[in-house]
């Protein structure tokens, strides 16, 4: 039996890079679904598959944590980051699911705008997670995530306000879209939270 004196920490990096790719891809597909509603070329099942894939990657991270004495960063940081990235995909999946669940007849421009921000944010998160080994470009990605979260916040507030501008908007429209706007906002926030967790790791280890 060979003793692993040098721990296989590269696997952690690979898993986080894969989780970042999955989150970005899920956001990209959700954006297509929102833009092309009510007859999107992408079924929700494909977003769901990515969510399952994301869960698997996160499970692998925890398995590695449980079987390795030496980890590239603090254990609690690794588990916090794994959960944060998992949250992104979960919220994206939730928003995408609402399109079918609420039988949405047509998109709203504000939701398409939120999706655009979500895709950009998840791309930045992918970039940050892919650079954990070298920390190269991580700071820019984190700053960009913060900016995108602010932008998402503004869009979401304006989107919700648009539902209440006229007394006579259908209550169904309000219920449907308020939930969707909030779900997309949670997904954007989750990207920023994950970025923040990456930031903590950089501060401790750079």
């Amino acid at each position: 039996m060979r003793l692993a004196l040098v721990p296989r920490t590269t696997e952690f990096y690979d898993l986080f890079a894969a989780a970042g790719r999955t989150a970005h891809e899920a956001a990209r597909l959700a954006e297509i679904r929102f833009r092309e509603a009510p007859d999107p070329s992408v079924p929700h099942a494909r977003v769901k598959e990515l969510e399952t894939e994301g869960d698997r990657v996160i499970r692998d991270v925890f398995e590695l944590l449980n079987t390795h004495y030496v980890t590239p960063f603090d254990r609690e940081d690794i588990s916090a980051l794994a959960r944060a990235v998992d949250d992104v995909v979960d919220h994206v999946e939730e928003a995408s699911d609402l399109l079918d669940l609420y039988k949405i007849e047509a998109p709203m421009e504000q939701a398409i705008d939120q999706c655009r921000v979500l895709v950009e944010a998840s791309a930045q998160l992918e970039r940050a997670l892919g650079s954990l080994r070298s920390f190269r470009g991580v700071e820019e990605a984190i700053l960009e995530l913060k900016r995108l979260e602010d932008e998402g916040d503004r869009i979401a507030r304006d989107a919700i306000a648009s539902l209440f501008e006229d007394e006579d908007v259908s209550p169904r429209t309000i219920i449907r879209w308020k939930d969707v706007f909030e779900a997309l906002e949670r997904a954007i926030d989750a990207c920023e939270t994950a970025g923040h967790t990456v930031g903590n790791i950089v501060l401790k280890n750079a």
Partner: protein, 226 residues
């Protein structure tokens, strides 16, 4: 409910009525002449119209211009003969000065409530859209449309080629105010346009007025063919 109020000679009474109707939760549109009434009805569904029976607008003229819309006549003074005359001529309700404003609003509200939600059928050139029967046809040939698409087509046809604003189209077809950013009208118009292009082609098409709305264009040849 959407109430169309035709301003008569008695401005203060009209504006008081308009105010009270709005307080009761109705959307009120004010118009000054039969032509304006027609235009107002075209830009959205009207559930009832009130007109000054002492003014220049004739009941028969309004009936013709607002088919299917219940009409309430308003009199400056209650005169037994005149009330009977108006009812006989087809007014659905007669209101008069001296009647409490709340009673007037309740009567108009009840009238609007009883009204059929939308005009029954519209023909334009070779196009016929019949809401009751759930059918749309082009020169007698049935078009395969969903109910939503049919309703949109009916509203565009009822406007007779005039541009219908997105918000008005939404109001008429969905029955609610359109939330800013809602693409429901555009999505349904796009589907309808694609279907018309496939089933009818150039003689019947929907044009976009950018930033405003849509209008139905029936080719001249198709109109004269009837």
């Amino acid at each position: 409910m959407r109430i169309l109020l035709l301003a008569g000679a008695d401005e203060p009474a009209t504006s008081l009525l308009a105010e009270t109707l709005r307080e009761a939760g109705h959307a009120v549109q004010l118009a000054a002449a039969p032509g304006a009434a027609e235009l107002a009805a075209r830009t959205g569904r009207v559930d009832a119209a009130v007109f000054d029976a002492g003014g220049a607008v004739a009941l028969t003229e309004l009936r013709r211009r607002l088919p299917g819309v219940p009409l309430a006549a308003w009199l400056r003074e209650r005169e037994d003969d005149r009330v009977a005359e108006l009812l006989a001529a087809g007014a659905d309700e007669v209101l008069h000065r001296g009647m409490g404003v709340r009673e007037q609003v309740a009567r108009i509200g009840a009238l609007a409530e009883r009204a059929p939600r939308q005009q029954g059928a519209v023909s334009l050139g070779g196009l016929r859209v019949d809401r009751e029967r759930g059918e749309a046809s082009w020169h007698g040939r049935r078009l395969g449309l969903t109910q939503r698409e049919r309703d949109v087509l009916l509203e565009l046809a009822a406007a007779g080629g005039e541009t219908v604003r997105r918000e008005a189209l939404y109001r008429s077809v969905w029955g609610y105010a359109m939330a800013r950013g809602d693409r429901s009208v555009d999505v349904n118009v796009k589907r309808l346009r694609d279907k018309l292009a496939a089933e009818v082609g150039a003689p019947l098409r929907i044009e976009t007025e950018p930033g405003v709305g849509y209008r139905l264009v029936v080719a001249a040849a198709a109109v004269t063919a009837l």
